[in-house]
Amino acid sequence: MTRPARVARHRQAAVVGIHALPFSKNIGMTERHAGALAILGALADAGLTVKDVDAMYRFVWENTTEMEMARILGVENLRAFGEVDYGGGAGAPTIAHAALAIENSLADVVVTWRARNRSSGGRPWVSQLHAVGQDQFERPYHIVRPVDGMALHTRFWIEKYGWKPEDLGRVAVKQREHARRNPAALMQKPMTMDDYLSSRLIADPLRLFDCCLETDAAIGMVLTTAERAADLNITPAYVTGFGMGSGPQMTAMTFYYGAELGITPSRYVAPELWKNTALTPKDIDVVQFYDAFTPQIPLGFEEYGFCAEGEGPAFLQSSASPLYNTSGGGLSEAYVHGFNLLVEGVRQVRGTSTTQAPNVRHSLVTSGNVVPTGAIVFSKEPW
């Protein structure tokens, strides 16, 4: 009796299709409608069709389940599927799950997407008046928005690291410059440091221009095997590796309750990422740090080891800093729980960004660093 051959393992995954519907304040259709169009666009970008799709992964916060989306699109069978929680922390982990399915031969063509009518659909906390679990100790005090939770961390970081308002303003101004080169970005108006400093306080010490946009958006991404990618008429962005992490005593957005204040989950992701990719920060040519709020950029450089703790604001102005958030990011392009950062990371590998870094070999994208999170590296060359 012959035993069946063991399936091949550890194939490499590559992103082969990306597509974003035009960002807007009111997209004029349901999230499932926009999401389906984004997926079809990403498949067309890859030169694939719905018939090729055999797996889907999504954010838990994506209102359309992968089953509903597969039904709408007419996918014959999902050989693998799943969801990742925690809002803006879910981006890179969702792509990581898609890549894991490919690497382990669970699936050959995986679709992921994020469609969110976060502008026209209203603000989620308006209807969250019953505070369950961790929220019962936070929401009654108006710690209801992401910015409320972030403000208390930011005050701590400002005092610990001696940040000046300009240190955060520089991030907002730089990303607006990037957005103005990107016709798809929602914010095209120039921003000066004076504009930043005179913007109104939302949750002291955070100002309006420290905060991301509120956007209707739909973005799709398609991954397949490196082998199959070679037959497609696109430049593959190979998934070199990824990492995830929560850190101890995690409460999303408000992890104030552990032993040490202000240490983010990204500090736990970074060693996993560098071990998994066998790369170091010096190998990274361009980065997209999750940017719901400006402090996440200087911290990102520190957390991922581009510079030492406390040196982020100086480092990002230095010639040693790689270009960051080249589409304008969540602050000035669109806010889509970081999915726009993921496709921008792929564009940097393809060489099609409007703020293109030269000779990109490795492109880093991170997800939200104040929630359970992850990071991923897309590369020009396969393993």
Partner: protein, 148 residues
Amino acid sequence: MTPAVDPQNGFPIPVVDQDTKPFWDGCERGELFIQRCRNCAKWLWQPRPICSTCQTPGPIWTKVTGDGVIASWTVLRPPTLPAFASMVPFIVLLVTLDEGVRLLGYLVDDAGRVCQTDGSAEGVTTGRRVRLRFHDQAGTPLPCWTLV
């Protein structure tokens, strides 16, 4: 049974369960209770059914003074929900109790009224000592803190 909240003008209310009821019952009596492990004596926050250090079940709800220091703070300005509109600007403190755990609460006066302030007149700053007061928010007694 969790009471209904007026969707137009209501404050967010805690949904109390078996694990958090002793905390809120204490608040009703004007007392602050924090869990402490019956085995390793570690103070635990937020409420949980077992100790996260030694995994001993049934941490003991222990009355504390509520004395502590400001670990961080923010000033809320635009009211996100209509219920908060008459209160802004006000301060939410992150307080480290002398037992080492951190809780959120409004900055209130000695009588437990939420201070309408940006904190500049009061000299709110990290490290300042605070003491416990309770603020009744539409029937929910919330632990809050006043400057010492």
